[in-house]
């Protein structure tokens, strides 16, 4: 049972499908969490506190990290397989086939951009929040401010007060959008839950999910950039 997930093409793809599905669900959760920022900074901080270095949050983090690693490692294994299967001699002329999306042919590139963005994101936020708590501290120094590990709202305001961070994140979200427009319907296909009737529906669903995620994240980043002022940041730090 364990072997077909590692030694058969369809099994390996199933691993991509399941881990991908898990990551999409996590992202949707993360996005809804972020959206609380738009309504109440203190509510957002309450969520941050709830998801600090508690045992359940830590366990979830480990599982999540495992999901990312497996998805990523399998992507590389599959890509290497596929590269070999293509043969040494390549076509001199290639085209984009009708009805074939650009994203579907560039999933690895998009995935790498997503991973790089994730790295940046971990440095920006996770290392200032959950990691701080794991290390037994309570606050970190960000851009000259002493920010408490549970003060996500302040951290966000500080980070997104810089325009270049907003741009970087939007590029990151865009890559994720492309990745998901193919990934979301593709995971149904790989698991075998698709047919000609459902392709239009699944592709529509994929576009909706991808767009929702893009907008959900982007709107918070842009909102922070627009409202962020030193006074606001100060007041958030004090409130905590």
């Amino acid at each position: 049972m364990s072997c077909f997930l590692t030694n058969s093409s369809v099994g390996k793809k199933l691993v991509m499908s399941i881990t991908g599905c898990f990551l999409v669900l996590f992202i949707l959760f993360h996005m809804s969490m972020n959206l609380t920022m738009l309504f109440s900074h203190s509510a957002y901080n309450a969520v941050c506190e709830f998801l600090g270095a508690n045992w359940y949050a830590l366990a979830a983090t480990v599982i999540l990290a495992a999901g990312v690693v497996v998805h990523f490692v399998y992507a590389f294994i599959l890509t290497i397989d596929n590269y070999r299967a293509r043969g040494k001699q390549r076509y001199a002329v290639t085209v984009q086939e009708k009805g074939v999306s650009w994203a579907s042919k560039n999933m690895l590139v998009l995935g790498v951009i997503v991973i790089l963005g994730l790295g940046l994101h971990l440095v920006h936020f996770w290392s200032k929040m959950q990691l701080v708590e794991i290390m037994g501290h309570h606050a970190a120094l960000v851009e000259g401010y002493e920010v408490a590990a549970t003060n996500g709202a302040a951290l966000m305001m500080i980070t997104f007060s810089k325009w270049y961070n907003v741009v970087l994140y939007i590029v990151w979200f865009a890559a994720l959008w492309f990745h998901l427009t193919h990934g979301v319907w593709s995971m149904f296909q790989t698991a075998g839950f698709a047919n000609d009737t459902w392709y239009p529906r699944l592709k529509c669903l994929a576009n909706i999910v991808a767009t929702l995620i893009f907008l959900g994240f982007a709107v918070v980043a842009v909102y922070c950039y627009l409202v962020s002022t030193p006074q606001l940041i100060e007041s958030l730090l004090v409130a905590a």
Binding site: A85, V100, T190
Partner: protein, 247 residues
């Protein structure tokens, strides 16, 4: 019409290949692509040169023998036809046409545009059949089959085994070919009996022969001369996973 042809020439599997450029002139628009190749070859023979080797046979789009990659398209720029069914009126007069053999690790070049597709035979030998003996079968009408199922089975069975799916796939995956066979038999009660065994053994053989992994780009379906849907790949995935989960 006149054309410049850039054609891959390679003496045998071991030799190094390269593109050669030829010109063909006064081609009628009603000439089929392969007839245009015949004309080129006859010219080459008269010039004392070796003609371009290419696979072809029925020239009616059903034997699956022809296999050219033309201007970046498997079977050329027309949709849903094989190379032999493409006519020169589809090309711009005076244009340059690049013709390459199928490129896939599992399809080594034999000569020029001819490749070895025996890997597809091997996959079918691994289980692409119903194990019935000659003459020990029930009456043809003994098991009614819903028309929709028979039609869907036929959709998949239309595969001509030309290799365009694996040749066009950026991953060199043969999933559409394998799926067509598995799906065609899975839709019929006669094929259901061995369904699980078939899906497992054919996928295993496909993997063993060095074909790549499907990433659902759908390029195979776009280039398939019989427009076989990737819905059959979904069914293959389902058949395979269901079979494996019962092991």
């Amino acid at each position: 019409m006149n054309f410049t042809l850039k054609i891959w020439r390679q003496r045998d599997a071991k030799s190094q290949g390269a593109f050669e450029t030829y010109k063909v002139e006064n081609i009628s628009a009603d000439t089929s692509f392969l007839e245009m190749m015949d004309i080129l070859n006859n010219d080459l023979i008269h010039a004392g040169k070796e003609p371009v080797a290419f696979d072809h046979d029925c020239r009616e789009g059903i034997c699956g023998m022809c296999s050219m990659h033309i201007n970046g398209h498997a079977h050329g720029p027309s949709q849903a036809v094989t190379t032999c069914q493409m006519y020169m009126r589809k090309f711009e007069d005076g244009s340059t046409i690049t013709i390459e053999p199928w490129r896939s690790a599992a399809f080594p070049v034999i000569r020029d545009l001819v490749v070895d597709r025996s890997a597809y035979d091997k996959i079918l030998q691994a289980g692409g059949f119903v194990s019935v003996r000659t003459n020990s079968v029930p009456d043809g009408n003994a098991i009614p089959i819903p028309k929709a199922d028979a039609d869907e089975s036929m959709d998949a069975a239309a595969c001509v085994g030309c290799g365009a799916c694996a040749a066009t796939c950026k991953n060199g995956s043969a999933m559409l070919f394998v799926a067509a066979r598995v799906s065609s038999l899975a839709k019929l009660p006669q094929g259901r009996v061995e369904g699980a065994r078939r899906a497992k053994s054919m996928v295993a053989k496909m993997d063993e022969l060095g074909f790549g992994n499907c990433t659902n780009t759908g390029a195979c379906q776009a280039q398939c001369p019989k427009s076989i849907s990737i819905a059959h790949i979904a069914r293959l995935n389902r058949e395979f996973l269901a079979a494996k989960l019962q092991d």
